[in-house]
């Protein structure tokens, strides 16, 4: 029984897409020098800031050897401005050229009975933690 309730290759309960999210968030970072950081092209910078999307349809940190890098993004939930600041501010030290950034959170979910799209957009300034 443990072999069908856990992920231990070659045994698997095939948990891909077992969740049923109703929304997700997208993060974009605007830097003082005019750059716009967004996945997938700026994944490495977003990883350093903890604003990347780890979700790939499977439960995180299960059936793999390494935990995903820490991120404020939990697929299916919406992080608050404070949570975004708490995650990104201390990590901004890795980018001494940016004393601050602006983080934009785009929430994507149902917009009517048939479609999904942007339901909310919020933008927070994040200063590098002292």
């Amino acid at each position: 029984m443990p072999l069908v309730t856990t992920e231990l290759y070659p045994f698997s309960r095939a948990p891909m897409f077992a969740d049923a999210p109703r929304r997700y968030c997208d993060y974009t970072v605007y830097t003082p020098d005019g750059r716009r950081l967004h996945e997938p092209q700026d994944l490495q910078d977003l990883l350093k800031l903890g604003l990347q999307r780890n979700y790939w349809g499977n439960p995180l940190g299960v059936g793999v050897g390494f935990q995903p890098a820490a991120s404020v993004d939990v697929f299916g939930t919406v992080a608050t401005g404070d949570q975004v600041r708490d995650m990104a501010a201390p990590r901004l030290k890795q980018f001494p050229q940016w004393p601050y950034v602006e983080v934009e959170q785009t929430v994507i979910g149902p917009t009517d009975a048939d479609h999904i799209g942007v339901v909310r957009r919020q933008r927070w300034p994040v200063d590098a933690a002292p």
């Binding site: 231990l8 290759y9 070659p10 948990p15 969740d19 929304r23 050897g65 390494f66 479609h115």
Partner: protein, 296 residues
């Protein structure tokens, strides 16, 4: 009790090996692509240096230095290639089979050990290689003799239990996936919204399926229901040979849509579903007999 006894008796029935070889060659070809992918992409999906607390694979007992060494996965890849060629040529029976099955599963395990993202594209191939290595192991003497006397294709060497075990494994794999969805999300899983979100995020924008799903929530929910019924039906397919082709078609349709929308590499699963859940097992002897009649 009588029907159970009859079923167990029939597991030992044998047919000529055409169907078994068809499945074996298909899974070997698919496995080559999968090994190539895992060798090339090893380490690419790792995003931190923090190990997970639970074991990842049956190889997790190995020391980390060895487990995460590039040379080990490369070595397993070389062993797989050698084993697959020998097995396809029916040399070193049954050891070529075990070498192929173990080295393939080792490659996948080592990939997962060095990753932060799980993938399930190789589980079915790994399971089938083990099942078919068992076939070659238990019938090694008959297979070697038949080969020596050049009557391999004329000898009844393929036991029914290999086919039955394949049905069981495939049915269990999909059944677990379906019931896991119900356990995690309940009957609200096929709500249409979740599929639209996944497609919006991961989908290939030019696919006709992508456009249909994003334009119509009812269609999205219907596709999710079809997938859920097909997956849960995996368990039914184990016991019902009449419903097996219907469930097979549902699951093949699910994979066709999945590949068209996401481009993920579940081609091996699709091929095995076609070979095991559709009536290829019962048709193969008839097709072979007809071809032989034509040639003679």
């Amino acid at each position: 009790m009588k029907s159970l006894s009859r079923f167990l008796d029939r597991l030992g029935d044998r047919t000529r090996p055409h169907y078994g070889q068809l499945v074996l060659w298909t899974v070997l070809v698919c496995s080559c692509f999968l090994v190539g992918y895992f060798e090339i992409c090893w380490g690419e999906k790792r995003t931190s240096d923090v190990r997970t607390p639970l074991p990842t694979s049956l190889l997790s007992f190995l020391p980390a230095d060895l487990l995460l060494h590039r040379g080990l996965i490369l070595g397993c890849g070389v062993l797989f290639a050698a084993g697959a060629v020998l097995w396809a040529l029916r040399r070193l029976t049954p050891w070529a089979g075990w070498l192929t099955a173990f080295s393939f599963n080792a490659v996948v395990a080592l990939y997962l050990e060095n990753s932060s993202q799980e993938t399930h594209v190789a589980h079915v191939a790994g399971g089938f290689l083990l099942i078919y290595a068992l076939w070659y192991h238990f019938y090694r003497r008959e297979i070697r003799e038949a080969d020596r006397e050049r009557r391999f294709w004329r000898t009844a060497l393929y036991p029914r239990w290999v086919y039955s075990l394949s049905v069981f494994y495939l049915g269990l794999f999909y059944g677990l996936s379906g019931f896991n969805k119900l356990a995690v999300s309940g009957l609200s899983w096929p709500n249409g919204v979740s599929l639209q979100l996944w497609v919006e995020l991961f989908g290939l924008k030019d696919s006709v399926f992508t456009q249909l799903i994003l334009a119509n929530r009812t269609a999205a929910a219907a596709m999710q229901w079809a997938a859920l019924i097909g997956e849960c039906g995996g368990l039914v397919a184990i016991v019902s040979k009449h419903l097996r082709p219907v469930i097979g078609l549902l699951l093949i349709g699910f994979h066709v849509a999945q590949i068209c929308v996401f481009g993920w590499g579940f081609h091996t699963n699709m091929a095995m579903l076609a070979l095991v859940f559709l009536p290829v097992y019962s048709w193969t002897p008839r097709v072979v007999a007809a071809l032989e009649r034509n040639w003679n």
